[in-house]
């Protein structure tokens, strides 16, 4: 049991650090609240969806921005989607960069867009690793027989 409590503490600390560092926001909490017996893997499911969606969008974005004449409306739509989905899982740093990206898009600033794309990619990979770690820890905890206290 000692291991379990330790793991629980670790998980809590890690989660709170994610919140403190601004990777996640309240929306993630809401997600976690939505998870219950009927949907035990809800958070993981949604986040995985987000990952798939985001990777697709990022690919699209890189492709769009590599082209000679950039279709800013298309880029804007992609960024908008990314913003919506990131805000829905509470990945607020990604969301913030998305907002900046959108602004650059409106100004049709190619350099800014490329810069933002890099930032988004960075933030995305960061949040992805963080979340994956989180889920891993949760899994371990479950495996050890503990439960996530909320």
């Amino acid at each position: 049991m000692d291991v379990v409590t330790q793991m629980q503490r670790q998980l809590l600390q890690y989660t709170s650090s994610l919140f403190k560092e601004g990777f996640l926001d309240d929306q993630f909490n809401q997600l976690q609240q939505l998870q219950d017996e009927s949907n035990p893997e809800f958070v993981v499911e949604v986040v995985t969806l987000f990952f798939e969606d985001a990777e697709r969008l990022l690919n699209e974005l890189s492709k769009s921005l590599e082209q000679e004449s950039i279709d800013f409306r298309r880029v804007d739509a992609h960024v908008h989607q990314l913003k919506g989905s990131s805000s829905s899982i509470g990945a607020q740093r990604v969301q913030r960069v998305c907002i900046a990206f959108k602004n650059f898009c409106e100004q049709q600033n190619v350099e800014g867009c490329l810069k933002s794309l890099q930032e988004i990619k960075q933030e995305y990979s960061l949040v992805k690793t963080k979340l994956e770690t989180l889920f891993k820890m949760e899994k371990q905890l479950f495996a050890a027989g503990g439960s996530v206290s909320r």
Binding site: D26, Q27, Q30, L31, L34, N39, F50, Q81, S88
Partner: protein, 1217 residues
Amino acid sequence: MATTKFRHVFGRLWGFATSCKKSSSSNPIGTRILQRDVEKEEFQFASTLCLSSYYSVFVVRLAIMVMLAILIGLLTILTWHFTKIYTTKSLNSLAYDLRYELLQRPILRMWNILNSTSEITIAQVKLSQYVIRSHGNLTTQEDQVEMYEAMRAVTWALFASRKALNSITVKYNNGFVQAFHRDIKDNNTFYIYSDLDNYSIGASGYNNSELNYSSLSSQESSWNDNDNKSTVWYRQPLDPVTGERIGKPMQIAPEDSIHIAGLSQVPDGVASWRVAVSKFTDSPLLSAALPVWDSSNKSIVAVVGVTTALYSVGQLMKELVELHSGHMYLTSLEGYLLATSTDAPLLDNSTQPPKLKMAVDCENEVIRLGAEYLRRSSGNKFPPSHEVHVANVRLGHDRYYIDSFFLNLKRLPLVGVIIIPRKHILGQVDERAFKTLVILISASMCIIVIGWVCILILTNGVSKEMKLRAELISQLEARRKAEASSNYKSQFLANMSHELRTPMAAIIGLLDILMSDDCLTNEQCATVTQIRKCSTALLRLLNNILDISKVESGKLVLEDAEFDLGRELEGLVDMFSVQCINHSVETVLDLSDDMPKLVRGDSARVVQIFANLINNSIKFTPSGHVILRGWFENPNPCSDSANFLMEEKKLQCAQKTRAKQYENHAKRTSERDKKAVLWFEVDDTGCGIDPSKWDSVFESFEQADPSTTRLHGGTGLGLCIVRSLVNKMGGEIKVVKKEGPGTLMQLYLRLDTAGDDTEQHCLVDIANNGLVVLLALHGNIGRSITSKWLQQNGVFTMEASEWNGLTQILRELFHTRSSSGTNNGFDVHYPIPESLKSRLLSIQEIRHPVFVIAVDIGLLDLSTDIWKEQLNFLHRYLGLAKFIWVLNHDTSNTIKLELRRKGYMMTVSKPLYKAKIVHILEEVIKERNHEMQKKNMDELHVHESDYTHCDAASSDDSDISESAPCNPVSSTEKFEQFDLLSRYRINNCLIGLTDEHSEVKTPRKEDSYQNNHNSPKSLSAEQAYFPREAHQGEDSESRGKEEHRIIRGLGRPANGKKSLEGLRILLAEDTPVIQRVATIMLEKMGASVVAVGDGQQAVDALNDMLGVEDFRRDSNLNERNTRSSSPQTEILSFPSYDLVLMDCQMPKMDGYEATKAIRKSEVGSGVHIPIVALTAHAMSCDEAKCLEVGMDAYLTKPIDFKLMESTILSLTRKTTS
């Protein structure tokens, strides 16, 4: 000349004009002095634009004046010029003729003189030739004498025939001289002859026939020598008529008196002319000389000379000049004066012998100047036939006409000059012309001055008007700007309030979540609660600002829906009574019975009006009461229509009559509009408002006493909103005078009455049932009002305000009836007042009385444990009377438990008002009837009745909980939790109890179903969630209204059902993450969700639904049953949706397009599916766009759980209700 004159005149005009302008601009100063202050202000207000326009006006005015001046001046000058020019021209031609004529006459005379002189000369020569020839050779002295005698006779004859002749001389070649001379001055005639002795006949040289001129001249010199030396001349006066010698000859010096023409004067042997000057006369003489040839024509025998005085010419000139004035003179070609019209001497006497004067040396000034002028103008020499005619020559001081004529005589060319003063000819004309000019100029000046004055006045007026107009325009502009900015302000506020309200709602929602968290410490919980309160206050403030800005920008549109006014007001009083109890202020609702039950209007706004007013009153009332009175506009307010209100208001009768005119007016208009005029009063016992502030308290940000802000807070917006809303509803609000401390606000609203169901059917029930009500209540006002009202409705009442009074009455009441009660410590004997006694007596007369005792929990001594004993005391009467416990909102659980344990099931929370009482009494009557029926052992009826009670309790709509064993849910804990909520809602649910009966029936099945299947966790979550809603409903009434609706909807979840149970929601969202999250959220709330990926799919899904809609409607009842049993399968078979959540940005077809398509397909079908927009754009313009395309509400991403829930609920409620 004309131009110079014109220029001159113009110059003068200009000078006059400028001086005029100066004077005209300086004159009005006197009149303007008064206006100076005004003008100064005006000037300060006037912008530079105004100033420049003023200058331009000034310039225009100046230009008009100058043009007028030029026009009039031109007219004047032209008139003058033409009139003058024609006269002058004609006069000039006339004058020329005159001058010509005048000059012609002396010249003619001259001509005559010359002619006659020459004729005489020729005649003399001819005669002399004849005489000499007839005498032949003169050889002797005698012959000579004879010849001379003959000659003398002949000469005399000629001389006598011509009176004008001055002299005739004959000089012979031998030197002998014969001459006749006429002295014009003394009119004597003389014969002059030389001494004959000295002359010999045969003088040498005379016979020389071969004379030539050169020798002749030498001869002459010899002649002259002889003459001068040797001749002796004699002068003998003659009778001028006969020629007889009348005197002795006198010896005179030769050439003494007359000039004898000699040989020298006839150099070429022809007649010669010359002007000679005589020593003896002062006038020049014209002399002619001719030689007398001998018979052989070879030698000159004698020389004949004739002289004529030019005196007569001068004389003639004088005469002419006397007639016509002016001067005339004749000169020779060289310029010597021959004759003048003056007496000036013609000869220069200074020299010896006298010589002729030049005209330029004439003593007469005019002639001299004229001559000088002529010489200047044409030089010394006149060309032949040169005539000079000059008009208007200035000589000296006057102007003259000068005309000269050239008279070309052989040997003696003459020049005649006439100088006539201009005055003589044109004097009158000039004078007249000058006068005319002066008159014209002065007249035109007058016209100009008058014109200028007129223009000045006119343009002054015009410019003033223009200035005013410009000012008006600028002020209109400023006003427009101000209005625009005010509008912008309102707009801005409206927008901002919205923007602010959204995060506020989020804050409050999150705080609710936080508060529901169990792991908060007490301290944290208190802090969060505090934050919650503050947020609510802030939200209320924002709502106020939004309301005001809405009203100001004219966007406030009042709803027009039917609502129960009484119920709304009761809810309001319920809400405020909680606040009042803390303040020890009694809140009383006092509506007259004739109030229409249902009215049409905007219930939220009506409630807002009273909420603000009551809130205001409570704020300023530290103790006492706040009464909300309401009555229906009565055509005859003084008639005793059994209205106890009137009785209550006897004190205020004075102001009522004052208000009557308002009422009458209002009544008249209301009759026209078919609207009911409802009067309300909010009466408090607070600090009151200073009468001077009665009007201004309704202004924005105005408070009666600014210092109270510190004490009570507030922004001063409340009353402003109230007045705006009241005015909007066609009413008025004012503060009226009140007896005693406090404020009395009176207002009336004009609302449509919905039907005329004003009959009080419920009141009939409680009357005549033998009810005796004992009101043991704190709060005098409320108790007395209730008591009076009950009495009016035929219910017997008694009142007690404290424990002792209650016990006394109880004892008297029941001890007299049945002396079964035993005395205990509380039974203190008080003397019973007479009035009470009589009442007791009258009660005893009632058959089968039913006693109802309403006991205020506050009458018990709650501070100690005495209340339990008091309760025990009262318990004794349980069988005899029905007890109704009036609870405070903060009554502790232990007391409630105790009451319940003892079997008191009828509890009601404060405040008591009619609807509650009616309901209680109805319950009492029902129970009695039920009991009576029970006695008849009617099983079926009992079952039905129980069912009803159970239902009412289970839905927890009422806290009048009866002992219903079938109700496991109404546990005490739950009871407590719902206490506040129920207090607010009680009336709605009570009244609507019977109505809901049928509705509730069906869901009950579901309820039980849910109860069984819900996990305990979710149930507790629901329970935790629920009181929050109740809190909200209490804190903000505008929110409360919405919440109220929600709560009614949530009536079912209280039994464990989810809030969105049974709703089918179509979710159109392309982002998978959001789609998943939203789906889970909605499913958690109990809704079934169908998710689609884009707008097109959404539209398709809905179109399918519309197709089956008709069928659905037909089998409505049937379907309901099916649905409740297996909702999931039903959805699959009939994909009908209660609501659509629509993302705005989607591929293929975005949310706006999809919504438009859906709305289009709905046209004509009468269906309106609620569509809620989901968007990541958090701008109000997006919201506007959403609403524009036909969406009903608007949610922003990330989706807020609470907000979504409440939005969906409000929309689905709206459509189903």
